[in-house]
Symmetry: C2
Amino acid sequence: MNKLHYAVIGSGGIGGFYGGFLAKAGKQVDFLFHSDYEHVVQHGLQIDSPLGDFHLPQVSAFHSTQDMPPCDVILVGLKTTNNHLLKTLLPPLLKPETLVILIQNGFGLEEDLLKEFPSLNLAAGLAFICSQKSSDGHITHLDYGKLTLAAYNQLAEPIVARVAEDMRQAGLEVEHAPDLASARWKKLVWNVPFNGSTVVLDTTTKQLVDNPDTYQLMYDLMKEVMTGANACGIKYPIEESFIQAMLEMTKKMTPYSPSMKLDYDNHRPMEIDYIYTRPLQTAQQAGVDMKKIAMLEKLLRFKAIGTVK
Amino acid sequence: MNKLHYAVIGSGGIGGFYGGFLAKAGKQVDFLFHSDYEHVVQHGLQIDSPLGDFHLPQVSAFHSTQDMPPCDVILVGLKTTNNHLLKTLLPPLLKPETLVILIQNGFGLEEDLLKEFPSLNLAAGLAFICSQKSSDGHITHLDYGKLTLAAYNQLAEPIVARVAEDMRQAGLEVEHAPDLASARWKKLVWNVPFNGSTVVLDTTTKQLVDNPDTYQLMYDLMKEVMTGANACGIKYPIEESFIQAMLEMTKKMTPYSPSMKLDYDNHRPMEIDYIYTRPLQTAQQAGVDMKKIAMLEKLLRFKAIGTVK
């Protein structure tokens, strides 16, 4: 069996991190860079991480997917607010069996992409990680790093398993989850309360769990995610104990600004659609009105006005 | 029948306004002043109002209720966050029949005061007004002004009627409402959404109703007040048409910072207890979980930390 040939679209804090580790482990990885393409061509890619800092002097860097060869696996590390770009970015990279892994948060992403590419092999990647691009060609990984992979369709399972194995060989912690919808909802248990609340209250995860009123609110929001998810009939229902574990974990985390807070602070669009609106609609269709999440969505829509530079 | 003798406790934007109009109309009104006592003794009280600016050069001003004579009617214009002071402020002013009118927003105020003064004659005053103390001895009335009076107990009805008549003679718009609980809940239909949301989103009433997302949220919050109020079995249930009227009115208002927003911006305590917590508890006892209001309360509790100078 040939080695898998990877491409990374969106080589920032997420895509650059996972792609960088694969490249360091000797896998074949092509990277699409945008603003820092020239920098990476000249200086390579630097990754600082508690797992060990390293530098990749020679990166297979591209500035357009038109110039990239077709590949076996595409890691998408874009913000979901840029997913409309995939329609033009993906085609040059696709072979009949190419697997696209959306390393992105939220719900409904795969369904939307399949409207453009009906026969695409798809998987979700859920990154439990604090990592960001700190400057051109420089990725700073602060904490965590586990990636949960979940195939969208049965056909994708074998290649997802191979990707998981490649990542483990690269020193990463990977879980191959048996059901995509369950995995996506499970990730939302943390993202829904903390992404939005840190924006609305201009604060960190630590302050939210240390204050008894917002601790209760975080619990309530998690409970709504759980109720919505379970009403949708996911294969592996979320349990109360998972909520408690997430809250305990957040108490122990260093004060942290989730990706949506970083986006808001840096005048980038927030991922409201896939983290809030689509889960709300999906739960609604299953008969559950996630009222507090709906309120958080409205508050975020208001916060979003005029904030993008 | 003798003329009613009034006292005003909390002679700011609300108490100073209604007391000032009564004094201007020749009623006997004693005012308790706090920080601006000396100023008022020397310069009198200035009221600027669309109803006509006026100056009261000689005001019956006091610096302590210990020095004030007993009276027939006490207008309380304190913030509810200072209601614990009433225990010591009221006794010198009380005769057996004295009526205390709490010109304050929220729910549960009368019940709390009756714990200290079990036989007190009580009424609610609900002020639909934009008015504030702009400087020492200077009250600036911007818009509206209608006062809704509602007796707490049957015994208080005749004197409430006389107060209403005095106020009308002073040129004020007054409604004598037939049921206190109905009147208090009805006022909350506007206060609950707009007081808290302007604080959490750092905005004005106008922006909240002009944005379709927050317009929907204001509607949802009003609907929760209505559902909670009606479940409590108030005598005059709130109707959907009232919500629509409140939203339409707010659309036509000039951009406005509600009292809670002014309190927050000026590092004063916010009236979260009586505007949010008590209504939530009361509705809960009637079996209604006002979820979005509960969330707003939690967000406000978080906002309140460390903001009071």
